[in-house]
């Protein structure tokens, strides 16, 4: 029977079907390669441009721009100081909290663990704004209190290099926590028990077994965090720029946005930064991919939990204060500041106002930026899930030649700070025959490109957990590629696709680095608008705007959660 049904002119049909699959794959690969490599090409071209300014394409090439970087030693030193300090702080937060939450009997362990990822959603920009209210040398609430109680000058200065590093570390700490926590969780407790059973003391076990086992994971996290900090932008922009303290990313932004702009120099800076980050992320991949320490045994186990007695309340306080410093205090500060006419440490009834919110919601520019951001977020997330889903599938499952190379191309934007990438795009799309520069389209393309690694990584991790034979079985049953996609692949990938959608949406709505360079007068988006308001209008208004943005993201996430939960329940 079955052979009758398939007894069609089968020698022709497979060619056609195969080609349908091939065309969709080839198209995806082509578009992605264009999106990623086209701007990088222009970035490189600009960095070697030593011809006259404003003449494109360049009339002469050379290394002068790179040589000129030696004049900016102060910026390099600044960058290194801030990055090192922030990395050490973030790793300390991450390691401490990861150890406490995975290896000790700290109370409310599960709740704390869930709270630990919240700082990631709060973003460094929000943190920088809030900590500026708290720790600015003159007007900072903490310093106002300090002087009120008889202190001299300023207790803390958040605009100092250490202050900037502090704010960056608070938010990157949650990334370090997730990475180190995963390593600690995946460690088989029998490895430690084996040491103790044959007579190793607790300290000896810790030094000779536990630490060497988690060391590669911690080193990996350190490199990853360091690379991220090198490319971070918003905290240094908000806190450092007013005092003329520049790190490399803010320097690039300055060179591009000043008049006259110094594009080739900015490009050379961007390329150098990108080269360093690329090497570091490559090292990170090597360390984590070739992990010779097999700590994951496939068996289900719970890491051994240490009974720390009364100390557990101290450890609880450590974790709670991290959440307090990175989430609760910043958000509370912004709320407190946003309802005052002039933000001061001591509340006064006459100082209370809701005008900032009224103004933020009534300003056309703000309303437009908000709408634009949400629309862009929805479109980016939806298109992004389709594209990254296809890419993840091609990379993980297809036998397409060169898919290993494709993975590198796709993951490439991760190694490039979004600001630098946007700079390449700005250059690239200016000369593109279709005039999209300064429109939504260029922002959409930028978002799709820079968030590609995020989507591909999220969906890939779900694909990797899927047994290959689930799809193969459908194939042997006689189902075509499209039919399998619809009945097997997409339903099984649903959780991954939904997670990717949400992550891309949130990332798009609060995007700063790429948007600040690429948005045009008619395509303003929210986060750059907040930064603009911070520099040019009142900080209380800015606080209100930042809170509105946060509320919009929170509401979307809630709606999304309710919708997906309901549809999941209906299916069962």
């Amino acid at each position: 029977m079955a052979t009758d049904a398939t007894g069609m002119p089968t020698e022709i049909a497979p060619q056609r079907l195969k080609s349908l699959q091939m065309i969709s794959m080839a198209a995806t690969v082509g578009v992605v390669t264009l999106f990623v490599l086209y701007p990088v090409y222009y970035l490189l071209q600009a960095s070697f441009d030593v011809g006259g300014a404003d003449i494109r394409p360049p009339t002469a090439y050379g290394l002068d721009n790179y040589a000129a970087l030696t004049n900016y030693q102060a910026i390099i030193v600044n960058t290194l100081v801030v990055t090192f300090a922030a990395t050490i702080m973030a790793l300390t937060f991450g390691f401490l909290t990861a150890w406490i939450l995975t290896r000790t009997n700290v109370p409310f362990q599960r709740t704390l663990e869930q709270l630990m990822v919240v700082p990631y959603y709060v973003t460094p920009l929000l943190g920088a704004l809030a900590w500026s209210f708290l720790g600015a040398p003159e007007s900072g609430f903490i310093n106002q209190l300090w002087r009120h109680f008889g202190g001299e000058a300023a207790l803390i200065d958040i605009t100092s290099p250490m202050g900037i590093a502090w704010v960056m570390a608070l938010f990157e700490g949650s990334v370090a926590f997730v990475m180190i926590g995963a390593v600690m969780k995946s460690m088989d407790p029998s490895l430690e028990e084996a040491s103790q059973v044959i007579g190793g003391s607790r300290v000896r076990t810790m030094m000779r077994v536990t630490l060497p086992l988690v060391a590669p994971g911690v080193l990996g996290a350190a490199i990853f965090v360091f690379a991220e900090m090198l490319g971070s932008f918003s905290a240094a922009l908000v806190l450092g720029t007013p005092a003329r303290f520049y790190v490399i990313t803010t320097a690039i932004y300055q060179l591009v946005s000043q008049y006259p702009p110094r594009m080739p120099l900015a490009a050379a800076m961007g390329v150098s930064l990108f080269a360093v980050m690329f090497l570091m992320l490559y090292a990170y991949r090597r360390i984590t991919a070739h992990r010779s320490y097999v700590t994951i045994s496939g068996k289900a186990f719970r890491p051994r939990v240490m009974d720390v007695g009364w100390l557990r309340w101290v450890l609880f306080a450590v974790c709670a204060s991290y959440v307090l410093l990175s989430v609760v205090i910043p958000v509370a500060t912004l709320i407190y500041a946003s309802v005052q006419k002039l933000a001061v440490a001591f509340p006064l009834a006459s100082n209370f106002t809701l005008d900032n919110f009224r103004q933020a919601l009534s300003l056309n520019a703000v309303r437009d930026a908000m709408t634009n951001s949400i629309v862009l977020g929805l479109v980016t997330a939806t298109l992004g899930v389709i594209i990254t889903g296809l890419l993840a599938w091609i990379i993980q499952r297809s036998r397409l030649p060169g898919r290993g190379l494709l993975e590198y191309v796709v993951m490439f934007p991760q190694a490039v700070p979004r600001l630098v990438f946007a700079f390449g795009m700005m250059w690239a799309w200016l000369v593109f025959p279709i005039p999209i520069y300064g429109t939504f389209w260029v922002l959409l393309i930028a978002y799709l490109t820079v968030f590609m690694p995020l989507g591909v990584r999220t969906i890939s991790s779900v694909i990797m957990q899927l047994d290959r034979s689930l799809d193969e079985c459908g194939q042997v049953c006689g189902a075509s590629w499209a039919y399998r996609l619809q009945t097997i692949t997409v339903p099984l990938l649903r959780p991954g696709l939904l997670a990717a959608w949400l992550l891309i949406f949130v990332a798009s709505v609060r995007e700063l680095g790429a948007s600040i360079l690429l948005m045009g007068p008619n395509s303003k988006v929210m986060t750059p608008a907040i930064v603009e308001a911070w520099f040019s209008s009142s900080s209380e208004l800015t606080a209100a705007m930042a809170l509105i943005q946060t509320a919009v993201i929170a509401i979307t996430m809630t709606i999304f959660y309710l919708l997906t939960r309901r549809s999941a329940q209906q299916e069962v």
């Binding site: 029977m1 079955a2 049904a5 079985c473 194939q475 006689g478």
Partner: protein, 368 residues
């Protein structure tokens, strides 16, 4: 084959699969007639699964040809390679590959839906298939709530529901516990007989292969080592590898005594001077031939048995109680022989006994 006009249901010709410079499957050829159960047997990494996947269309062979029911599925010379979905086969996977987001019914109905069946005809066929594997009452169950054995049954129902002519099995019982496995073995064999479906079965489990096959193909490192009925494979292993892999066997090497050997009979003397009579199975011996002595064919007795040849006085070194059988290790002229017996005789280490074996159970092996 007997009817002349009937093409073999599965015909694999000079198939080879290479990954880069590594040859996973050398050039192998075999065929199964309609309704036959053919088993590919071998240790992991021998290329049996790659061969099966190539037949299914999930793996692209490097060269050779695959024909199913006379239809060419793959032919490297003619450049034909049908994708798996157009080969009209069916397969049971090692991991079962039960789709967790569907009900038991929908899992089993998949192949029929692909073939555009619907309505009562579809319902009837699905329920028939589920009843065959005794999963009828579970039709509306969510597939994710099934136990391993139940998943196995659903996988089987799904593979049979659309009445395929050829069924492929990729170690389908390897994830079940021992008791369930021996039950399913018999059920599978019954089902296969009833449906008269040709099947290609892959396993590394000897008992499974012996119990379920009409024909066994033993594979080693990508090549075919021996083929034959289960009886032939077990009783007359061709090489030391087959003798060793297929059940527990003692391999004895020695010098051929040419004066007493003839075409059918072979006599060797071991390095320690023991003389062993065996049969040559039509194979030509070389200088120092090896004979295979199955552990179950060796017999122990307290008194000297009344046979002319192959009797030796030995000392028991060790007795291992294994439940159904006992395994006895004896010292036989400086080397150890393993005997497996069901008798409840109470042998102890150090005891002196007599060891014997019928010459027709000492099989001459071909050189590796």
């Amino acid at each position: 084959m007997s009817a002349g006009t009937t093409a073999p249901a599965i015909d694999v010709e000079n198939l080879s699969i290479r990954y880069g410079s590594i040859t996973a499957v050398g050039s192998v050829s075999f065929s199964a007639s309609p309704g036959e159960q053919l088993t590919l047997l071998g240790p992991s990494g021998c290329g049996k699964t790659s061969t099966l996947r190539a037949v299914a269309g999930l793996e692209r062979p490097t060269s050779g040809a695959i024909r199913i029911g006379g239809r060419t599925m793959f032919d490297s010379d003619k450049g034909i390679n049908l994708p798996a979905e157009q080969r009209g086969l069916s397969m049971v996977f090692q991991s079962y590959a039960i789709w967790p987001h569907m009900t038991v019914f929908e899992n089993a109905a998949y192949g029929l839906r692909v073939r555009n069946e619907s309505g009562t005809a579809l319902k009837e066929k699905v329920h028939h298939a589920l009843d065959l594997v005794k999963m009828g009452p579970y039709a509306d169950r969510n597939a994710s709530q099934l136990s391993g054995g139940q998943q196995q049954r659903v996988a089987l129902a799904r593979a049979c529901a659309f009445s395929p002519t050829v069924l492929l099995f990729d170690e389908p019982l390897s994830n079940l516990d021992a008791k369930l496995r021996s039950e399913m073995r018999i059920e599978l064999r019954e089902l296969q007989r009833r449906l008269r479906v040709t099947s290609l079965y892959v396993t590394h489990d000897l008992e499974e292969a012996l119990a379920m096959s009409d024909q066994i193909v033993v594979m080693r490192a990508g090549d075919i080592e021996q083929r034959g009925t289960p009886g032939e494979i077990y009783n007359y292993p061709r090489t030391a590898f087959v003798a060793d892999f297929v059940g527990s066997s003692n391999l004895v090497q020695g010098q051929r005594l040419t004066e007493v050997s003839d075409k059918a009979r072979i006599v060797i003397t071991t390095d320690s001077g023991n003389v062993l009579h065996g049969v040559s199975q039509g194979r030509t011996p070389h200088e120092r031939p090896t004979l295979s002595l199955r552990a179950v064919h060796l017999a122990l007795s307290p008194n000297r048995p009344d046979v002319p040849v192959n009797v030796w006085a030995v000392t028991i070194k060790r007795v291992v109680f294994l439940g159904d059988i006992s395994q006895v290790h004896v010292d036989w002229g400086g080397r150890e022989l393993v005997i497996r017996q069901t008798a409840l005789t109470d042998y102890v280490a150090g005891q002196s006994v007599f060891l014997s074996i019928a010459p027709e159970h000492c099989i001459l092996l071909e050189a590796d």
